[in-house]
Symmetry: D2
């Protein structure tokens, strides 16, 4: 039985806590830490059967009975806590992104190389039943060689501008997931990026120096082309779809809905909207990613979404940012070279 | 906090146990009872945090700290244990069917009338997200007045003939769910039934005196017509769909799939099969029905699937049996009259 | 080059005339006859390049240069004109139904047997691209042995009650097409029929002695079961679908729409309604059936929808009528026996 | 009654000839001209009722009884014959592209300005029932302001390399239709283009200096972003789809199939492939575009797809070519400026 500590009791920390307590057989959450404790959170922890509750996450790192930690704290603390946790010999599941600063990710990568610690990055979409089905079809050769990969990713509504200002920009905050999906679906690396952006949702996002709508095209290392389109707002809900096209065929993955109900009336034929929010769409994916992490720890197996999965999307995101700023295509290798990679 | 006892630790008992322990906030499973205890089951109970394990279910009925019981034992014990549980003052969630003998259901109904006990019958399909969506559309008037209701219900594969021999026949074992769906979707009662049956899956089913394929047409109390088609085998998986047609429109509900993946190749366009098995299709429905039951107990509210929901499908099933045997349509009221109803 | 005469210049006569003039290479319409000639129809004939226009159809039968006739006159004249045309040695395409009186169909059948004349009945749905696709899948063994056949057939709106009064009733007027589809899709004969009917669309239809909504279940000669549901009104358009279920799988055919446009908005996901009217849905089918008839004449090949295809649906319709009236299932063989069949 | 002359009796000339003779009420094809006459074509013309057949198209231009011509000859003759036909005072329907040389299109445009001649360019996809449905939804404001437009356009199989060598390249030959669709669907102009290309279908295409796979992103004058993806080969058929996304919703248009047949079996759920070839997909669109042209001539109304619809896609195509060659984004205005626009 693995004892787990969760660092950060916000929304995603609770999602993972519930997943482990409810679904993951070989693990229990022994402790949770959050500097801003609320009575509701404390009650939640009690209800879940989590015995220990700290304001200081270091208590978790010091606990010799805890073998693994989930880093669910604010983004700017991910890499620093990762380094401490590695030093403490804990296996780590770290929410994405590891950091927005490539150098800090590289520090974590270096520390990991010298340790025996497992490190998984929380790219939950890889565990989504739909995307897994599509990836399985591609990996099984059902479309042959990949020619064109298309990813559509739209949020139901834009976050507050205050959030956007500290988000690192749309490419680092939102598209980062899609960059990971490009790598996951294609099994290849992104070589070059060209980004068009626009402010169509909210002028305040533009005033904050960001964009809210984007079309990003890419050349991949396997010769395929890829394109992502993003928008911060979709009136009909959370829209996340993938099309992978190859010499033998095509695979398309569409959204989930609350039910398959279709109503026909004098106005038309009406189906349900996509599930509105990422927690609904990816609830099962969150459980599955944590379950796989615990399993890797228990069986001393390698994780499939390691530190490099945290690194490359950030490099691609930086290339996209530079492309948007310069109006020119940017090679990811040139970004990597800036960091000695 | 409600303490629950589960009587019967078979497949469905475990499903409900996990639902309560994992999802239902205001309840815990205090004890489980099964005469045929296995080490695997005992381990499962420990893993779930269920403290007490008995071979004799009477221990649960005697426990003053247990407010509610789930009757998940073999069908022939449902009504007898229901009566004992009512006598013990426990609220009851009873797996379907309450009994195949109408008189025994009526005994339970009579005992309930004199008690303050809540009694919910386990017709899980009413809690399926798809069927709920369709029922909500009908109830909201989106199709206007119901004219024709069509239910398709097919199992992936026939059970062993040994099971079929004691099942009470296809109408009581399989169509019983669909008879309940007719009542749920229409909000009306079945007045008359005409059944055609055939043995097309397995001749041994015919030799056992049963059929494996059926088309059952019905007249409903609201003037609508209905038809159910059943088969014990569907090569492509568990097929459960509903179409409700009215003067203003139509609502159609189709199956769930493991993913929305669609592959196009030189041979065609290929989507996934329906989920294969009822546990996959209805996992969330099982959790939701138990959750509603606990909620009704906690809030002293009425249950929506009470003893009459256990009674009427059995009456309809008996009418269907009689129709098949006689080759003539049968009024449900005539069956009811045989039992003084 | 085959010269064709069209008897009856109503809606369907014009449809066939345009098909032959526009699509059918080896034939031309030499003459058209209608007792009630209008200037519009005359103009239409001129525009189409049809040279001769008569009020008396006998002129067509007497024309030695005309090899084939299309009988598109009112239903009550079909069998009589058929007999005359057979006597005149013309190949015949006759709109359905040949007659509502079985004896008159049998007279035509007898006359045909002694002639060398080809006789095709206008069951256009057999030529619908969708139903042909489904039949091809069944015939190719893709669903294995047929177990259950389901046909849904609903008109967008009820015809005037004045029409209904002389229509022969819903089974002879509307369901007759579906009875033909049962034979077409199954490749089997209907052995027994049980019909439920209701008046849900318009009370005047009931006052006229007819019903407007029906569920008709059947036993087929190949052991399969079948069910048709009909309604005289579907708010969302012309609804004609088929499901054929067998031991190896299922084939489903749905409606056509004007376009594949799907709009997603804050209210839901909206697709187009089925094509509203039978002429839109079956335009191509009408051309194809006439084309096949001309082809059979040119190549002296047998027609696939011969006089028996005109006979059997009428027998089934009479069985359905009798079932509805008596409330009991009726064997088609018993109806046939009344006519010495 | 309008008399039409068709210049060029190849595949598309015949398609238009049949459309006019079969569907277009107010017009007839009086003459057809083609330097390379075959007995089959002559027979075809006779069968269609086309009286005159020339090897020299000038005979058509000289015929005072002909009011309109369809230019369906080889691409390199379009602009020259257009000029001659304008001089002869004929209304003109010209197959796309008017020319690959912008200056020659501008000559035609200039000549038109001084004439009273109607000039329609054969961008048939604007008349496709699916794309029309989508455009109607956009124009009706159903998606609000356009934010992102996505066009997928793939041919079933690459043409011979000999054709590709003289085609003007993928952007001028294939994407030209999609550039037109961008303008049609958006109601806006393309301001800037960035193109990625790859040779993934056939290395010989690369050796011929062309590409066979492309992702082209664009900025539009209304602030929206657009992306086209092309491939010369789709194993599953002719794949032409559009997604238009706006602040209020999204419209998606998918392919047509031969039938709606869906087969479910133990392997999965199988629908039909898209119609394989452009003639099948766009048969009705071809009839509708010619019908609209004749209508404009008869009623002296303006055409909706005029000379500018022939000009702008060529400018965009040249921008795309330059972008691919340079690896940089290209402004369409810069291309236009090269031609004094």
């Amino acid at each position: 039985m693995i004892n787990v500590g969760i660092i950060g009791a916000g929304r995603i920390g609770k999602v993972h806590g519930e997943s482990i307590m409810n679904y993951v057989k070989g693990a229990t959450v022994k402790a949770i830490a959050d500097p801003f404790i609320t009575p509701e959170t404390e009650q939640w922890a009690k209800d879940m059967g989590i015995a220990e509750f700290y304001t200081d996450y270091k208590k978790i790192l010091e606990d010799q009975d805890i073998q693994a930690v989930l880093i669910c704290s604010s983004t700017d603390t991910h890499s620093a806590i990762s380094l401490e946790a590695i030093a403490a010999g804990k296996h780590i599941f770290c929410e994405k992104p590891v950091d927005q600063d490539v150098n800090k990710i590289l520090e974590v990568k270096k520390a990991l190389a010298e340790s025996g610690v497992k490190y998984q990055v929380g790219f939950n979409r890889r565990y989504d039943h739909n995307f897994k089905g599509a990836r399985a079809a591609v990996a099984a050769g059902k479309i042959g060689e990949l020619n064109v990969l298309k990813i559509c990713s739209r949020d139901p509504a834009a976050p507050p501008v205050s959030y956007i200002k500290v988000s690192g920009g749309i490419f680092m905050d939102m598209t980062i997931h899609d960059f990971d999906m490009v790598r996951f679906m294609s099994g290849a690396e992104v070589e070059e990026v060209f980004a068009y952006g626009a402010v169509l949702v909210d002028p305040e996002i533009g005033e904050a120096g960001d964009i809210d709508t984007a079309v990003i095209s890419m050349k991949l290392s396997n010769g395929a082309l890829a394109v992502i389109d993003n928008c911060r707002r979709a009136s009909y809900g959370y829209d996340q779809r993938v099309e992978a096209f190859g010499n033998l065929g095509q695979v398309i993955v569409s959204n989930d809905t609350e039910s398959t109900t279709v109503v026909s009336d004098a106005q038309g034929v009406h189906a349900e909207k996509p599930l509105l929010f990422f927690l609904e769409r990816y609830m099962r994916a969150y459980a599955d990613e944590v379950s796989e992490f615990i399993d890797a720890v228990v069986k001393d197996a390698s994780v499939s979404v390691g530190i490099d999965c945290g690194l490359y999307p950030v490099l691609i995101g930086l290339a996209a940012k530079k492309s948007l700023a310069s109006g020119l295509p940017v090679k990811v290798a040139d970004i990597a070279a800036e960091y000695g990679l």
